[in-house]
């Protein structure tokens, strides 16, 4: 584990994003090691989704940089994106394709070997319980099924980093449990996972470290134990710690 942790898979350096006069992300600095699950929590409008989108190459930062596996996103975005499995919070996909066609589309984009595509795609769709729907148009899928399909397609090319925005939104309890177990398993195998979430129980349950973002700034980061110490409350769950940290900021 120590060897893994020495290797920084995600580095955010002085990351800043402005929308006109609004400062969405303010000089964010953090790093995530190989095989680590990093949870990103914060109130609504704190800058979580903006950060995640910049990390996924969907949005350009105003200042600062995103380095994935030692490569700066601005220098070689294609190489970086090939290493990432990006899962957005809202499952917008091509409604006129079937599930399997979408998997094929992702495979072609990320250069998945033709010989293993079908087997891997079927295995993932089966794991997420949508194999029977593989030949149906995505427009007939429910919200949760689309979310499952996006997660399947993001894992198809064996990324080294998973960047996921609100992974549990739209999923049923069985799928949530399955995704949690899968993330733990993937992290054990060396995959780095960066996830933003509102579900504090999920963050507490599976994340190795958690960062709290508020008004675009990282106000605390560490294990749940570290966060408790920072908040000055030893015997409390993450929810209380989170509320304490963000309220403190409000007062300041």
């Amino acid at each position: 584990m120590n060897d893994l942790q020495d290797h920084k898979m995600i580095e955010l350096k002085n990351l800043t994003k402005r929308y006109g006069n609004t400062l969405a992300v303010n000089n964010l600095n953090l790093s995530v090691s190989k095989g680590e699950i990093y949870g990103f929590i914060g109130p609504n409008g704190a800058g979580k989704t903006t950060t995640i989108r910049i990390m996924g190459g969907v949005l350009a930062p105003t200042e600062g940089m995103v380095v994935i596996d030692g490569i700066n996103m601005a220098d070689d975005p294609e190489s970086v994106k090939r290493r990432i499995g990006f899962i957005p919070d809202r499952p917008f996909i091509y409604e006129k394709l079937t599930g399997m066609e979408f998997m094929r589309f992702s495979a072609d984009l990320y250069g998945v070997d033709e010989r293993v595509f079908l087997e891997n795609a079927q295995a993932l769709l089966k794991k997420f319980g949508i194999l029977n729907w593989a030949d149906e148009l995505i427009e007939s899928y429910s919200h949760g099924m689309k979310q499952r399909l996006i997660i399947s397609s993001a894992l198809l090319h064996n990324p080294t980093v998973i960047i996921v925005d609100e992974p549990m939104v739209g999923l049923d309890p069985a799928a949530i449990k399955m995704v949690k177990n899968m993330f733990r398993e993937l992290a054990r195998e060396g995959m780095t996972i960066f996830m933003s979430t509102h579900t504090l129980a999920v963050a507490e349950d599976i994340c190795d470290r958690i960062g709290v973002i508020h008004r675009g700034s990282l106000i605390a980061t560490g294990t749940t134990g570290d966060l408790r110490r920072i908040a000055g409350i030893e015997e409390a769950d993450l929810e209380e710690v989170f509320l304490n940290l963000t309220e403190e900021q409000e007062i300041q």
Binding site: I84, F105, L109
Partner: protein, 565 residues
């Protein structure tokens, strides 16, 4: 009433806030461009009608009959346009809008929601038609020196005309929604509308209206007059409106008011009837619309034959986007009627060439054939621009909210744009070349003109397609519920204007040298050195322009779309 106003207010606020939004940085420039083009169209309509009416007035005997016939045709066309436009708008407003779930969860009766939505739909579907009809009536007023009665009557009749058209459309939509779920409803109405439009268009064309200007073809002059003076059906609202406006034009206040009252009473009765029917049925139809997102022709899924192997030689990302683009296009059933419409228009376009009475013209046939062939080049590329505006310009916007897939994928924006270019370039080149070759064959043009048109078009098509992709990328609209509508935006308008400029420049550059070559051939003389230089310079400029039209918009579009902010 309070609830209806509250429902409408949100729309008004959204409209008002549009100018404060982040995307509205070029608001003034856009407003200016739209305003100028709109005003030019408005003035153009006025000038044409004014000219035609002045000409009619000069035709002794039946000039007024022709003017009356023209107005009656305008009103019927206006009414049909309003009905068609209202069907599409009310369908979206009443059953398909995303905010309906929120609205129906509020403590407001279905009839009130219907009325608010119907009012919005009437406004949306009518305002443009009405604005562009005003110059028509204005030209009548000026030419016939009409008084206040005429203008007041026009103002008071247009409003019930819009209400009646919108009422009929909403009634049809509400009733059909009881039988068909809204997902299918949209395809059904679009099919129905286009089918009716096509039938009318083909029937009109097959009637050969050019014979109308040639009274010789009628058995007698009386028959000719009779065909022009046939009154409309007394059951049609357009007839009452026509009678009212005509009476006002002639200063007969009593008759004008009678027909006006008839029209208004029908419009008000219509509102009562649709409110009553919608109160009883609207929610049932809406509820049905939520349960099935069916297709008019069911998708056959895995059973359909896979043709994608023919693209296997392409690289992964190129194949991925090419397959996605083609499959998405053909599975979107709302595209089909428009393809049928284009095919029908092309058939009519070509049919027109086959019936051109070139041999009856006093000008030498060979000369005329070649002039037509040259003009045909411009016309065919204008047709191409219209088709490209509908299909190529929205190609980037059609990615919609799924555009994150492109942004997060290891593919350059440039690659995506060139894939889109290639997907549309091949069919559009084929379409334009077929148009040019077939029309030239029908015109029996000289081999020189045939080679010239085919080659010119071959070099122009990439430019027009590239401008479509490039402008679409520079002005994308990923939020729109219907990406095809993006062509009516600022970028779409700019694209159309610049394409028209591009086509006109190419035609102007070629016209002079081609005329010289043609006349030299006609007289059996050879070209002078100066004429040769002119020829080479002109054609080189055309080539340069075509190359620039491909490169510049693509690079610009790529730069804009890559900004990621």
């Amino acid at each position: 009433m309070k609830e209806i106003l509250a429902l409408l207010r949100s729309r008004f606020w959204s409209f008002r806030n549009g100018s404060y939004s982040r995307d509205a940085k070029n608001h003034r420039l856009k407003g200016f461009l739209f305003g100028t083009v709109g005003l030019l169209f408005w003035a153009g309509i006025f000038a044409i009608f004014y000219r035609v009416l002045v000409y009619f007035q000069g035709v002794e005997g039946f000039g007024d009959v022709l003017a009356r016939k023209l107005m009656s045709m305008v009103l019927v066309t206006l009414f049909s346009l309003l009905i068609f436009s209202s069907i599409i708008t009310s369908l979206t407003k009443l059953y398909l809008s995303k905010d309906l779930i929120l609205v129906h969860s509020m403590p407001v009766s279905a009839a009130k929601i219907f009325l608010a939505r119907w009012f919005e739909s009437t406004l949306d579907s009518s305002w443009m038609v009405v604005v562009y009809m005003l110059p028509v009536f204005l030209s009548y007023g000026i030419v016939y020196k009409a008084g206040l009665l005429f203008y007041t009557t026009v103002g008071l009749t247009i409003l019930p005309l819009c209400l009646i058209a919108s009422g009929i459309s909403a009634l049809a939509v509400v009733l059909v929604a009881l039988v068909l779920p809204a997902g299918r409803l949209r395809s059904f109405f679009i099919f129905l509308g286009f089918a009716l439009f096509l039938i009318l268009l083909i029937a009109f064309r097959m009637m050969r209206p050019e014979r109308l200007v040639n009274p010789d073809t009628f058995a007698s002059l009386i028959l000719y007059f009779k065909s022009l003076e046939t009154p409309g059906s007394p059951l049609l609202p357009t007839t009452w409106i026509f009678d009212s406006i005509q009476a006002a034009l002639q200063g007969q206040a009593g008759s004008a008011v009678f027909d006006l009252v008839l029209t208004w009473s029908f419009a008000i009765a219509m509102i009562f009837v649709i409110t009553w029917i919608s109160g009883a049925t609207y929610f049932t139809g809406y509820s049905k619309a939520q349960t099935t997102a069916g297709r008019l022709f069911p998708f056959r899924g895995g059973r359909s034959r896979d043709w994608t192997y023919i693209l296997n030689h392409l690289s992964g990302p190129v194949r991925a986007f090419a397959v996605k683009e083609i499959k998405t296009f053909f599975r979107d059933q709302t595209q089909w009627p428009q393809i049928f419409l284009i095919v029908a228009l092309i058939v009519i376009y070509l049919y027109n060439f086959s019936v051109l009475p070139l041999d009856k013209s006093p000008i030498k046939t060979v000369y005329l054939q070649n002039i037509f062939s040259f003009l045909n080049m411009g016309l065919a590329t204008f047709v191409l621009t219209a088709v490209a505006a509908r299909f190529v310009y929205p190609a980037v916007s059609i990615e919609g909210e799924a555009f994150w897939i492109v942004r997060s994928s290891p593919v350059k924006i440039r690659t995506l744009l060139w894939i889109k270019f290639c997907v549309y370039y091949v069919p559009l080149l084929l379409l334009t070349e077929i148009l040019i070759i077939v029309s030239n064959i029908l015109l029996h043009v000289t081999p020189f003109m045939m080679v010239l048109s085919v080659t010119t078009v071959f070099f122009m098509v990439p430019g027009i397609v590239s401008m479509g992709v490039g402008f679409g990328a520079a002005y994308p609209d990923f939020q729109s519920e219907n990406a095809a509508q993006s062509v009516t935006s600022f970028g779409g308008l700019l694209y159309m204007i610049l394409c028209a400029g591009f086509i006109a420049t190419v035609i102007v550059l070629e016209a002079g040298p081609v005329y010289t070559v043609f006349m030299a051939g006609f007289r059996g003389a050879s070209l002078s050195t100066l004429q040769w230089i002119w020829l080479v310079v002109s054609f080189s400029l055309v080539l340069l322009l075509c190359i620039l039209a491909v490169i510049v918009p693509m690079r610009w579009g790529e730069r804009c779309l890559s900004r990621n902010d």
